[in-house]
Amino acid sequence: MSEKVTISFSEEQEQLLEVAINFARDKSPIKTVRALIEDDLGYDGDIWQEMVDLGWLGVALPEEYGGIGLSLAEVVTLAEPMGRHLMATPFYAVTLTGQALLAGGTEAQKQEWLPKLASGTLGACAFYEPSGEWNLGAPDAVATRDGDSLRLSGSKCAVVNGAGAEVLIVSLLLEGAPALVLVEKGQIPDGALRREVSIDETRRTYGLSLDGITVPASQLLDPARTHEALKHIGKVGCLLLAADMCGAAQAALDYIVEYLNTRKQFDRLIGSYQALKHPTVDVLCAIESARSHLYYAAGEFDGPQGDMAVRMAKVAAQGALSFAGDRAIQFHGGFGFTYDCDAQLYRRRAIWGQSQFGDSAYHRQRLAAMLFDAS
């Protein structure tokens, strides 16, 4: 990498970033975040509608499907400030669903659903299973052909915002090969969705029992593009989480710095102790690095280094947030140990982020192959 590296950053990104920073700060003060934890829905419908009205759900969808026709680079500039303010909305779930459909849907499916998603209809993705494995291409759930129908069986978990979704994208095996199927809300029996106890209390995730669900075969996504779609979904998931965690890590750092600059022990501001100051500097450095990886990945997403850059962005953001959250707890001393201290919110978010789309060791293993085994 002795060549010159640049990070592309469009005018649209710059504008959206400013808007999103203000929006997230105004709409998601920490009080609201905590209030929404107690709320069953988990987000504020009015704020969600404002986001819809701003067109944010269509940012990276083509204009022909009702989107704005920008790219995921612009989505990152929205997702990062939301992460910074632990903003709870279905933005992540709906964006991911849209991208899954865009990459893997049939033309008919895209025409039907993408405009809806762009205008605020909720969608969700059901990829993970009790096996705990990250490989999206080897699900245990199964679809069996029954005439023109598909009978689904198995169970899914960690379906983000699954309960309100009008449409779900489900991964499963069909005739031994991985496939994606679109399931509509009305096709899900009562009781098939179960709210989970998520480590990240600002998220609403659901378990989904597929047993008894039958859908028309036309709801199968384009089988020729399954592989490509799964790859795209993985990349998008990593990028969105990287943005989210980068944002949250900055908030955790601010939270530490604020405390270090006000709390006294032994008659000195605790921030003057190198035992706290220096690790906090290392948190800062981790975050600065993570943001650089993030915005490089955002701009390079579809480029030749895109896959690599996105994985690195997830690893870097994950590391930064885990570290920041862990130290935020420790450095707040006794208060850090209480539920009232926000440090736990950040640390929980990092644990959740680690559990989705592969942890750091997982991605480093794949990065090694790209970096060292390329012919």
Binding site: S131, E133, C157, E196, S198, Q265, F266, T338, Q344
Partner: protein, 401 residues
């Protein structure tokens, strides 16, 4: 007289059998892992009854004097029991502060009357103890305790507040560090130490919600609460010295504890077991070279703490810095525990997303909870950062920071 290895071996067989036979059945609620995590009454009574049963069987306070409910035996016998309790992972002894800190302290410097009054009920768990050291605004700065204890005849009047009082709602007594003389020459000389009753008027115990989402800690408020001067220990104005002695018990740097394990340890063996059950790329995580390397590192660190203790038995092998091992133990073990529990989350793949209460949570979410709770030990009793100061200054003789 010290028992022979053979006698101990025979005894171990007996103890093993007793615990196998008498361990309580798994309750339908999740048990806490230490006394700091007791959040509900059902948890508390379950554990209190269990301690009482162990004591009645003769397996607690075996080395404490018979006059106070102990058995006056060599410590080696008690150690056999304690190790077996750890090995079998039976529930811990809930009166932890009484058995390990207040008890030895009273035995060391209490009056004959105090010993008679308090010790037997510590062992039987009839009277639970809590600790009143930390205050809301002076977390690590114990010497700066501000809770007021004004003498009024043969009573002291308490005003102020203590925090992190585990078992505060169930405790009958509190070991309490308070400021009896605000005018003293140094802040340390103004402190006194009490074996304070919790059931006098003017004491309010308010639960604190922990980051785990559970309870277990409290803040205790004192408003003109009157306690007898006879509950003083160590003499008026000597509170700092008594507190330091107590901390030596808390850190395990002084012996004399009643025995019985104080917490359900998350050991490397549990982590290894988790790695066997977890999958990575379709294979057991224990087969992943990176996981293996990390687990070996944990095993070695855990072993080194035990081996340090073993080495302590030989003066020739600790002659350079005789206190290094005892003073650094808390720092090493608490940081290791935090890291091991944290690492466990990465072994759970996508299921790391689920927390206590979710049917999909690995081991009922125990690892997440254990990781969070681990901070109570890296923060409480002097944070790890303070521990490093203490080790640097007391063991290496480095100047104060």
């Amino acid at each position: 007289m010290a028992p022979t290895e053979k006698e101990l071996e025979a005894f171990r067989g007996e103890v093993k059998a007793w615990f196998e036979e008498n361990r309580p059945p798994e309750p339908d609620f999740l048990l806490p892992q230490s006394f700091m995590e007791v959040g509900t009454d059902e948890q508390f009574y379950f554990l209190r009854d269990w301690q009482n049963k162990v004591y009645e069987a003769g397996y607690l306070g075996m080395a404490w004097p018979e006059a106070y409910g102990g058995r006056g035996m060599d410590q080696a016998w008690q150690n056999v029991v304690t190790r077996e309790m750890v090995r079998q992972q039976v529930p811990f002894m809930v009166n932890t502060i009484g058995l390990n800190w207040a008890g030895p302290l009273i035995l060391m410097m209490g009056s004959e009357e105090q010993k008679k009054r308090y010790i037997p009920n510590i062992l039987s768990a009839e009277e639970i103890w809590c600790q009143g050291f930390s205050e809301p605004d002076h977390g690590s700065d114990l010497g700066n305790a501000q809770l007021k204890a004004e003498r009024d005849g043969d009573e002291f009047v308490l005003n102020g507040s203590k925090i992190w009082t585990s078992l505060g709602r169930h405790a009958k007594h509190m070991i309490l560090l308070a400021r009896s003389n605000p005018e003293a020459n140094s802040k340390y000389e103004g402190l006194s130490f009490f074996l304070a009753p919790m059931d006098v008027p003017g004491i309010d115990v308010v639960p604190i919600k922990k980051m785990t989402g559970e309870y277990g800690f409290n803040q205790t408020f004192f408003t003109d609460a009157r306690i007898p001067a006879s509950t003083l220990i160590g003499g008026e104005g000597n509170g700092w010295k008594v507190a330091m002695a107590t901390l030596m018990f808390e850190r395990g740097a002084s012996g004399g504890q009643a025995g019985g394990h104080a917490q359900m340890q998350r050991e490397s063996s549990h982590l290894i077991d988790l790695a066997r059950r977890s999958k990575r790329g379709g294979k057991p995580a224990i087969e992943d070279p990176l996981v293996r390397d990390q687990l070996v590192k944990f095993v070695m660190r855990e072993r080194s703490v035990r081996l340090n203790s073993a080495r302590s038995a030989h003066k020739a092998l600790t002659q350079d810095r005789p206190h290094a091992i005892s003073i650094s133990g808390k720092y090493l073990i608490t940081e290791l525990t935090r890291e091991m529990n944290e690492y466990a989350l990465s072994l759970q793949g996508t299921n790391g997303a689920f927390y206590v209460g979710d049917p999909g949570a690995v081991d009922k979410g125990l690892w997440h909870r254990a990781y969070f709770n681990a901070f109570s030990a890296t923060i409480g009793g002097g944070t790890s950062q303070i521990q490093q100061n203490i080790i640097g200054e007391r063991v290496l003789g480095l100047p104060k920071s």
